[in-house]
Symmetry: C2
Subunit: 248 residues, 2 copies
DNA sequence: CGAAGTTTTGAGGACCTTCAAAAGTTGTGG
DNA sequence: CCACAACTTTTGAAGGTCCTCAAAACTTCG
């Protein structure tokens, strides 16, 4: 956190401002946040369930997941986060972490104290609303997953997750929407969609056999977007790309 | 909405104030909201997915669910709401409803315009934070369900949902924590936990055979709380009864 | 090049689904 | 207040999806 390398939050601010007016003062207050830069290696449990919440994190680079552990030790990944995402903004409101955070690739995180976040919302209601919206999108994604996990076949779940990645990588310029690098293992996919690694493997084989996707090494290519979207019943609206509604 | 019956929002305000300071002015502004009272019959789809969001609703009485429909017409219930709950506060931030709302019993709802809600957050940042926290608790419940639905057996899922009801009915004084009236059908339970009605029935029979619960008509009695909590791995912390953390 | 990690294959079995029908309960109108 | 209709719960049986365990083939990385 040395002075010569104060993290640049402009990209993250831009995300919050998507389609909505935020005053110059609020923007400046956000950029002035005392952020700390942290480099984290691969497969590090950066935050653990049950710890007190001190700081919350932006993803500057890397692929990161939030997860819950259950009794018998397994993980359920509840969300993935890419560059530009604010991972756990809403932790600012709670005292104890209710999920873990782990890196899947070497990553760079910017962290700020929860208290600084709360102060921003007190001073600038418009930022409070932006943070609220961020939590809302989170909730919408969880809702979608409840539906996915509760009511869809293994193939559909895997297809849906791949499409979500394609969409989100495209949104941050790391994909053309068809081809992207997904640096996670099939075991991680299993933890995310609630299936065994073996069955993930068979589901991927089926998607390949139908010429819906191709994969090599960690690259995924969607071969037949239309058919894949149809079989997964993927509708991107749940990611709320339009941004929040404003006071009229 | 005639003047002689202006809905009384004090009970709902009390819920938002749980353990946190809200200024007298903000409280008054909340109570002055122009709320409309609506009586709704049983099994009415009060809000439909895809409609524009105009108003959002408090539950004054009744049992109400939010749900998503999937391609083939089935429902996934994503949450239940009891007296005192603000069902879809966060709809204020989005333009199109992403879920339906239906009553399971005859109910009374209070509704206010989304714009009035947004105005409150602009005028009183502390209310904005309270609303943000409400959405956070929502998100936490969805996360929990992703874990439940993704990783637990039918019996555990059913047990967990019954415990959530016991806990929430107790919190609003409609149960001693052991016995409560659950006015929904097994088919509704099935829609909530992502199982077939037949299997819900068999799971309930198993819970009864183990002397964990008893049921008659629409009444549920938890016979062995300790064992049920253990088998369902139920921890109420995810409902965040402690309220939000405050700026220090 | 060898070791560790990851993906793939096979087999047997558990859990949950679907379909269908019987039994029981609730609500309504005569 | 009873009779009947509609709904809900329960039972049975067959079958599919997904799981576990275990080992082999393949990749990646030091």
């Amino acid at each position: 956190m040395s002075a010569h390398s104060k993290p640049d939050l402009r990209a993250h601010l831009a995300k919050f401002m998507r389609g909505r007016p935020i005053s110059k003062e609020a923007q400046q207050a956000f950029l002035d946040l005392d952020a700390k830069r942290q480099e984290v290696g691969m497969y590090q449990d950066f935050v653990r369930e049950g710890e007190p919440t001190e700081r919350c994190c932006f993803v500057e680079s890397g692929l990161i997941s939030r997860y819950k552990t259950w009794r018998t030790g397994g993980r359920q990944i509840i969300s993935f986060h890419l560059r530009g995402d604010f991972i756990d903004l809403s932790s600012s409101l709670i005292k104890i972490q209710d999920h873990g955070i782990r890196t899947h690739t070497p990553s760079v995180l910017f962290t700020v104290t929860c208290n600084d976040i709360l102060r921003l919302t007190a001073d600038y209601p418009e930022l409070g609303r932006a943070f609220w919206f961020d939590t809302l999108v989170d909730a919408a994604i969880f809702q979608k997953w409840t539906l996915n996990v509760g009511r869809r076949t293994a193939r559909e779940r895997v297809a849906h997750l791949l499409l979500e990645f394609a969409y989100r990588f495209e949104a941050i310029g790391q994909s053309d929407g068809r081809e992207f690098i997904l640096p996670i293992t099939q075991a991680d996919l299993a933890d995310a969609v609630g299936l065994s690694p073996v069955h993930i493997n068979r589901s991927l084989q089926w998607l390949r056999s139908q010429r819906l996707i191709r994969t090599f090494s960690k690259t995924v290519i969607i071969e037949d977007m239309e058919a894949l979207v149809a079989m997964a019943d993927f509708r991107s609206a749940y990611l709320h790309p339009e941004g929040p509604r404003e006071l009229t």
